[in-house]
């Protein structure tokens, strides 16, 4: 796609969304049998799968911490996840995303409960459409809960950006490519920010407003994450009503 004249016209974006509208989300919990916890997450055109193993023994041994668990996060894009074949294997970008995503989740995990162990999180991007790191963090936090790992809260994440001088929530590929700014944010339930990156330029006021929009988006995502987890055990809810 060539650069379009206008990415937003009369408050309607190219894909028909309003500026503060998220892309459709679909969540499935426990899709992998071998993993201790797993989650499939669709975020517009993004399709990611997260698997959590652990707490388990640390290999290699020298990585273990004697007073807490180590959290390892691997973000990986499938070679077919983008239009032009992505060369497989870790690269500068995916190493960075792995690091920031790990740091987005670490503050909520009770690592000190499991000294000398490892919690491994794997995020595979099957299809990418801008905002894969946010989709990965959302998926990983659900997979962690599914694995029964003690946490302070879920983590929810989404991006805000600027296109044609307008702030918009949750950029898609074209908006990301031709827009002016992209800012992924991750928050815990009580609003603590665990991830904040910015690519492009925003003025101070724009930044404030953008953050406000992102927090709203994350709250909406949190509700969906919660509903998806609850849905895995529907019978419990029925039992509750009767009791």
């Amino acid at each position: 796609m060539n650069k379009p004249e206008n990415l937003i016209e009369n408050g309607i974006r190219l894909d028909g969304r309003k500026p503060d509208e998220l892309r459709p989300i679909k969540i499935e919990v426990g899709v992998l049998n071998r993993a201790d916890g797993s989650c499939y997450f669709e975020f517009g055109g993004n399709k990611v799968i997260a698997a959590v193993y652990g707490p388990r023994e640390v290999h290699p041994r020298h990585m273990q911490k004697s007073t807490s668990a180590v959290v390892r996060y691997r973000y990986n894009m499938a070679s077919f996840s983008v239009e032009e074949r992505k060369r497989p294997g870790p690269d500068r970008r995916s190493i960075e995303i792995s690091k920031v995503s790990r740091e987005a989740l670490e503050p909520v995990i009770f690592q000190e409960y499991f000294p000398r162990s490892a919690i491994d999180i794997f995020v595979e991007v099957l299809q990418a459409d801008a905002g894969t790191r946010t989709a990965g963090i959302n998926a990983a936090s659900i997979a962690l809960a599914d694995a029964g790992i003690p946490m302070k809260s879920l983590v929810s994440s989404c991006a805000v950006g600027k296109i044609n001088d307008t702030l918009v929530l949750d950029l898609n590929k074209d908006e990301d490519n031709y827009g002016q700014a992209d800012m992924p944010v991750a928050i815990t339930k009580d609003g603590n920010i665990t991830l904040l990156q910015m690519d492009g330029h925003l003025s101070r006021d724009e930044f404030r407003e953008a953050l406000e929009m992102a927090l709203k988006g994350c709250e909406a995502i949190y509700e969906m994450q919660k509903a998806a987890l609850m849905e895995k055990y529907p019978a419990q809810l029925e039992g509750d009503v009767i009791e």
């Binding site: 201790d36 916890g37 652990g54 707490p55 388990r56 023994e57 004697s66 909520v108 009770f110 499991f114 000294p115 000398r116 162990s117 809960a145 599914d146 694995a147 029964g148 790992i149 003690p150 946490m151 302070k152 809260s153 879920l154 815990t188 339930k189 009580d190 919660k226 987890l229 609850m230 055990y233 019978a235 419990q236 809810l237 029925e238 039992g239 509750d240 009767i242 009791e243």
Partner: protein, 264 residues
């Protein structure tokens, strides 16, 4: 409503003194720390729906020998940490060179957690008459957090299972279960155990499993109709779940039964 399904980080109570397992306190308020069933009776606790087994001293578990090292067997006990069974913890005196003749890689053992230190070094023992290597039968695995349910109130569930299937059953706290008996009985017992695991969170469990076992045994004579199943489900929903506190006590009782050889 004193029981509900919660996800990590849900607000449970204003009273931090009541906080128990599966919760954390922040700013004087109690929140859940795991996904599970929260109960508010007496103390506030969340029973997780999944998660790894964390070893505690005194737990009876089933382990699988991973490695024979010098004077220690290294045993997998399904936890993040490996168990160490020292040669002196074997019921009789054996020489270091002969260790693999008694227990080799891949062998299963019923074992007791003797000690867990701050470094999570786990010492196991076989020095107890109820403990021994497993030479026959089968071992099935369930989620460790579901073990109390499998044992049931005062060991009722497990006693019923043993009765109905004519099997010896040993439940390890790490979610490994040893079943031994006739082939048919074992098949049935294993299926019942897996059914219990799948349906732990639905109330009226014992009754449903009793019915399941009876039906399975009588199935050769009468084929069930699917319509019947539906009505049964409706009935069993009415049954009340035992409170969490009770299940905890039961856990003890159940194991005691096990230890005292209350099985046939």
């Amino acid at each position: 409503m004193d029981k509900k399904l919660v996800i990590p980080g849900e607000f449970l109570s204003e009273n931090p003194d009541l906080a128990d397992e599966g919760t954390y306190v922040e700013d004087g308020k109690v929140f859940s720390s795991v996904m599970g069933v929260a109960s508010m009776k007496n103390r506030i606790r969340v029973v997780p729906l999944s998660g790894k087994y964390v070893p505690k001293p005194g737990d009876l578990v089933i382990g699988i020998v991973k490695e024979v090292a010098f004077s220690n067997w290294i045993v997998d006990i399904r936890s993040p940490y490996e168990g160490l069974l020292h040669i002196s913890e074997y019921p009789r005196r054996i020489e270091s060179e002969e260790m693999s003749r008694y227990l080799n890689v891949g062998d299963s053992i019923m074992t007791l957690i003797k000690d867990v230190d701050a470094n999570m070094k786990i010492e196991l023992t076989l020095n107890d008459q109820r403990l021994r290597p497993i030479r026959e039968g089968r071992v099935v695995e369930v989620t460790p957090s579901k073990v109390p349910r499998l044992i049931g109130r005062g060991g009722s569930m497990i006693a019923m299972l043993k009765n109905e299937t004519n099997c010896h059953i040993f439940v390890g706290q790490n979610g490994r279960i040893w079943v031994a008996g006739k082939d048919k009985g074992m098949d049935l017992a294993v299926r019942a155990i897996l059914k219990i695991e799948r349906e732990t969170h639905i109330s009226g469990l014992t009754e449903r499993i009793t019915r399941f076992l009876k039906e399975e045994k009588g199935e050769k004579i009468i084929e069930r109709e699917p319509v019947e199943q539906e009505t049964e489900k409706m009935e069993t929903q009415e049954e009340k779940e035992p409170s969490e506190k009770e299940t905890m006590e039961e856990k003890e009782g159940g194991i005691l039964d096990e230890l005292l050889g209350n099985d046939k």
